[in-house]
């Protein structure tokens, strides 16, 4: 067995052991151990002692880690269904139905003593104060036993049902909220025509829309155009933060060639990555991407380059160690799967057309070549996003029963645009901040100019998204698909991507 496969095997064994012990207890550990036993039996059949040892040790470590987590922050309520209980946590989403409000709550405290815990609850509220995502609330009531058969998502990410009343807890805003609010206020100060929507859109593209500050119409337009990922802080945002941080470093200290410089630059990059994650409020996608970036940076500090799949595995392992309760929540699953889809699309692209397109990109710079090169880049982006979208279809179908046929097209156009706009947004917020701190007229004029440019660019993005969202059939509802069906479709796609055409010689 190769070293890469051995590492993957070890990580899977660790995560299975930890997650099953933490979330579902010892009985699940027994089932996991039985499955692992099959794998160990296979290794024994192959006389691969190293794999047996590594897998068994990883599984044992995972079970120990899960036990520690379960003792520290239980993943299930301590009160039985029907008994009065008090839970507190952050509102994830709110859904108002005809008779009641349904709130998804990330529960972090439970009981009168406010013991730490870590699970999600669906709170049913008949009446009470209006709450929004991001607020902290306390719910007083009782857990309710569910009377329906658990679905695959219920098993992967258990959701406790709670019926009661809520009250809003007033907590000091987090660092990320304070930073984004301050930036939004400064950008509104220099905005000539009180344009809040473009400002919040710009900040959402950099830090994500965790506070739900964007109007519903804008969010639904992005959803229908298939570019919701642009409003969510994700791995690409972490990469952007690293790129931006590298600019002043290279200006001041040059490229990190020597080992000592690599180490210092690695420490600096790690600070940037986790600082960005802190400002983003440790949203799950950013957290996973930060884990992956940490591994890449660490490898870079050692002078090694790592493959995309290796980063994916390592980020899964780090996320599992640091936050096992959220390992298989919908957000984290989507993040992992999206990263996998990007790796697959990239690998498929390199297997298919890298030679031809590299030759096209080597062409000398002239107007005609520039136009061809831009067209080629757009076409490449479109093909890659089409493949990524194809991979995303089964998961989005299973989770949300939605399909956005124009998603690849709008992503291919908007993603490069947003990449270009990111530095503009950063410069815009910086200028607004400087203009606030030092109200010197030339600086204020520059800030106002940046504001005009930024608002115009964001308005253009909004217009384009609205245009795509208005096309017929931009957001299609799909018939429900079972988990097994979604898995089968994923396997089908992977099989198509990796199938070998039989070779016939001589």
């Amino acid at each position: 067995m190769t070293r890469t496969r051995l590492h993957a095997c070890a990580i899977i064994a660790f995560l299975v052991g930890e997650w099953s012990r933490y979330v579902w207890g010892w009985r699940a550990v027994g089932a996991a151990a039985a499955v692992a036993g099959l794998a160990l039996g296979w290794f024994a059949w192959c006389r691969d002692r190293r794999s047996i040892c590594v897998t068994a040790a990883s599984l044992a470590c995972g079970i120990v880690a899960g036990t520690v987590w379960a003792a520290w922050q239980p993943a299930h309520p301590s009160a039985p269904p029907g008994a009065r209980d008090v839970i507190a946590g952050e509102v994830q989403s709110v859904k108002v139905t005809h008779r009641r409000t349904e709130i998804i709550l990330a529960v972090r405290r439970e009981g009168e003593g406010a013991h730490p815990c870590h699970y999600q609850a669906l709170v049913f509220v008949e009446r009470g104060p209006r709450v929004d995502a991001g607020q902290w609330v306390e719910a007083d009531g009782a857990f309710v036993a569910s009377d329906r058969a658990p679905t695959a998502m219920d098993i992967l990410s258990p959701l406790e049902l709670f019926d009661g009343r809520i009250r809003v807890l007033h907590r000091a805003p987090s660092l990320g909220e304070r930073v984004t609010s301050w930036m939004a206020a400064r950008m509104e100060d220099v905005s000539p025509a009180d344009e809040r929507e473009p400002i919040h859109l710009a900040l959402s593209m950099v830090f994500g829309d965790a506070q739900g500050s964007l109007p519903q119409g804008v969010s639904s337009d992005f959803l229908a155009a298939g570019v919701t990922h642009l409003l969510v802080a994700s791995g690409s945002n972490v990469g952007f933060a690293l790129d931006m941080a590298a600019i002043p470093w290279q200006r001041l200290f040059g490229r990190a060639c020597s080992r000592q410089r690599r180490l210092v630059y690695g420490a600096y990059a790690l600070c940037v990555v986790w600082g960005f994650a802190l400002v983003c409020g440790f949203q799950l996608a950013v957290f996973r991407a930060a884990c992956g970036a940490t591994y890449s940076i660490a490898a870079g500090m050692c002078g090694r380059r790592v493959h995309g799949y290796t980063v994916l595995w390592s980020s899964a392992w780090m996320a599992g160690v640091l936050d096992p309760a959220d390992l298989l929540t919908p957000s984290m699953l989507l993040s992992f799967y999206a990263a996998f889809a990007v790796c697959e699309a990239d690998a498929l692209w390199h297997r298919t057309c890298s030679g031809r397109w590299a030759r096209a990109e080597e062409a000398r710079a002239s107007a005609a070549h520039w136009v061809r090169r831009t067209g080629a880049s757009l076409a490449r982006a479109f093909i890659l996003t089409a493949v990524v979208d194809a991979y995303m279809v089964p998961v989005l179908w299973w989770m949300f029963r939605q399909w956005t046929p124009y998603g690849a097209l709008s992503t291919a156009i908007l993603e490069p645009t947003v990449e270009v706009l990111m530095p503009v947004i950063v410069l815009w917020s910086l200028m607004a901040g400087v203009a606030h701190a030092w109200p010197w007229p030339p600086i204020a004029w520059c800030a106002e100019g940046m504001s005009r440019v930024g608002c115009a660019a964001m308005s253009a993005v909004l217009w384009f998204v609205h245009l795509v969202a208005s096309w017929h059939g931009s957001l299609r509802s799909l018939a429900p698909v079972p988990f097994a069906g979604a898995c089968a479709l994923v396997l089908g796609l992977v099989a198509v991507a990796h199938a070998r055409v039989p070779q016939r010689r001589g």
Binding site: H98, Q216, S220, A390, R401, S477, L478, A479, R505
Partner: protein
């Protein structure tokens, strides 16, 4: 990256560029198709060179596999996207067929009724919402939406607004309920002179007509039986006490139909009187735009203490 002689033509292109004396053949990775370069010579796709060899020695016999292999790189991308898009299209078509079956089925016979009931049961299992959208939309009628859908989705499913200006009068962010009736009013900015004052209009259109003074607002809407009836008009300066108004009085407010009036009443009964304009936002279907229109038309006298006519002079 080294340039490659690979061409869409596959084996032929490789044959043209291949210089066997300069390249070292290497066969690795899953498919063994790597660019190999040695001694500054032009790199070739080794796999294709081997294919070219194969063609040279066994011309015609392996041509099918050679062609398949050379086009497989592109074919698999097309297949991948086609498989995903095709399955999603098929699933979306299933939803559409369920919806159209619901629309087309007329419960005149027992058999048809049974079909409709079965289909409805299926729809209920998939937590789909049936909403009746009419008024200023392109394709009025029943639309099927997913749970958690909003008015915007319903309008989009009904073909979108008939006139772009209609969007100004609708709170598109409101959540929709199963069985809800959504009436899209025509734009309020319609020129008063061009509109009939009697409120007679095309079937299903609710029209907001401005009086010659430009301040009064009256609203005409069809009644439940499909006929046309003009509602009470608010004369200049009159205001409605939102905490004492009954269903009919509430319907005289712009943008309020029977559903929304009932929602206001239900919320008032459940939560007590509305203290201010902002508190009305808690009622389902009422947003910023609606409140802006009501600002000068409603008052908030205490419940029970209002006038019997439910209308107060300013």
């Amino acid at each position: 990256m080294a340039s490659s002689t690979r061409d869409m033509g596959g084996a032929e292109g490789a044959q043209d560029g291949a210089k066997p004396g300069q390249e070292a053949l290497r066969f690795e990775d899953d498919a063994g198709w790597n660019v190999v370069e040695r001694g500054g010579g032009p790199p070739v796709w080794t796999g294709e060179w081997m294919e070219a060899e194969a063609i040279g020695h066994h011309e015609g016999r392996a041509s099918f596999f050679v062609r398949l292999r050379s086009s497989a790189r592109y074919l698999r991308m097309v297949l991948l996207v086609g498989l995903a898009a095709g399955s999603a299209w098929f699933a979306s078509r299933q939803v559409t067929m369920t919806t159209s079956a619901l629309h087309s089925a007329s419960p005149t016979s027992e058999t048809q009724s049974a079909v409709v009931q079965t289909t409805e049961a299926d729809a209920a299992n998939t937590t789909a919402l049936q909403v009746d959208v009419h008024g200023d939309v392109r394709h009025p009628g029943l639309v099927t939406l997913q749970e958690g859908a909003r008015v915007r989705d319903a309008i989009r499913a009904a073909g979108g607004f008939l006139h772009a200006a209609d969007a100004a009068d609708v709170n598109q962010a409101a959540l929709v309920w199963d069985g809800e009736e959504i009436d899209i009013p025509a734009a309020t900015a319609v020129d008063a002179a061009s509109q009939p004052q009697s409120g007679v209009q095309d079937l299903g259109l609710a029209l907001a007509v401005a009086s010659p003074s430009g301040h009064d607002v009256s609203r005409a809407s069809r009644d439940g039986a499909g006929g046309r009836a003009s509602k009470h008009a608010l004369t200049a300066g009159q205001k409605i006490n939102i905490n004492t108004a009954d269903l009919e009085t509430l319907e005289t407010l712009p943008g309020v139909g029977p559903k929304r009036a009932a929602a206001i009443l239900a919320y008032r009964q459940a939560h007590g009187p509305f203290p201010d304009l902002e508190s009305l936002r808690h009622v389902k279907g009422i947003g910023e735009k609606t409140l802006a229109k009501w600002k000068d038309l409603i008052t908030f006298g205490a419940s029970g203490g209002g006038s019997s006519a439910d209308r107060q002079a300013p």
